[in-house]
């Protein structure tokens, strides 16, 4: 088990590009710096897009889990 606690879980299942990235960009400011948001998505593009978004915005993807029917991405707010 990784060393972090989830501040918020967001359900983005069914959403297609660009909405998962648009929505996380609107939500990241609602948690404190250092907090982790757990995102559930079914968009395979998110696997590449969340790290790209995080790199640009200066946040970190702490973990990515691919489970049957859902991709779980853990985003840590860094600033």
């Amino acid at each position: 088990m990784a060393d972090y606690t989830i501040a918020k879980t967001l359900d983005y299942k069914g959403l297609a590009c660009p909405m998962p990235v648009v929505k996380i960009s609107q939500q990241i400011g609602t948690v404190s710096v250092g907090d982790v948001i757990e995102v559930h998505t079914t968009d395979p593009g998110s696997l590449a897009d969340f790290p790209a978004w995080a790199k640009t915005m200066g946040h970190t993807i702490v973990e990515t889990k691919q489970e049957p029917g859902v991709i779980k991405i853990f985003v840590k707010r860094m600033k």
């Binding site: 297609a16 648009v22 960009s25 640009t56 915005m57």
Partner: protein, 180 residues
Amino acid sequence: MSVNVERELAELKAKVESTPGTGNKLTMVVFSGSLDRQLAAMIIATGAAAMGMQVVLFFTFWGTSALRDPNRKVNGKNMMSKMFGFMLPKGTKALKLSQMNMAGMGTAMMKGLMKKKNVASLEQLFEVASELAVKVYVCEMSMDLMGFKKEEMIQYPNLEVCGVATMLAHAKESSLQFFI
């Protein structure tokens, strides 16, 4: 010595600040009035805004049709303007695909497929864009040519009419420029 260094530093600073294409900004010319191209433009625009970029869209020529509000009418148009108004699509919902339109059947099928796959519609993307403070400009000359009035355009927040210089001023400050 130190005076020289200070002066050189100031010159260098001025140079860096006036260097084109370094701003965290995207300027996009939306020329096409095709549904597919407009979708691409709005996906890139909302995506860039989500990536923390300032986004400026400049709608020109056929692209201006997308900004027409089908529920708003303007009186006092001449015959040519009336004809253009009648022939050109009235708003996002009337746009057609650039390929495989098949007398509207292809466009309807694509819209159905997008709904099924939960892909955001052009109308939804415009709404998201306004939430993300994407700036929209309309080309004054295109509107004049086609006889469109600002009063018949959608009520997008801070929609502004401008000319090429405004777009170029933004493009010069942008690190990304697109033409769709």
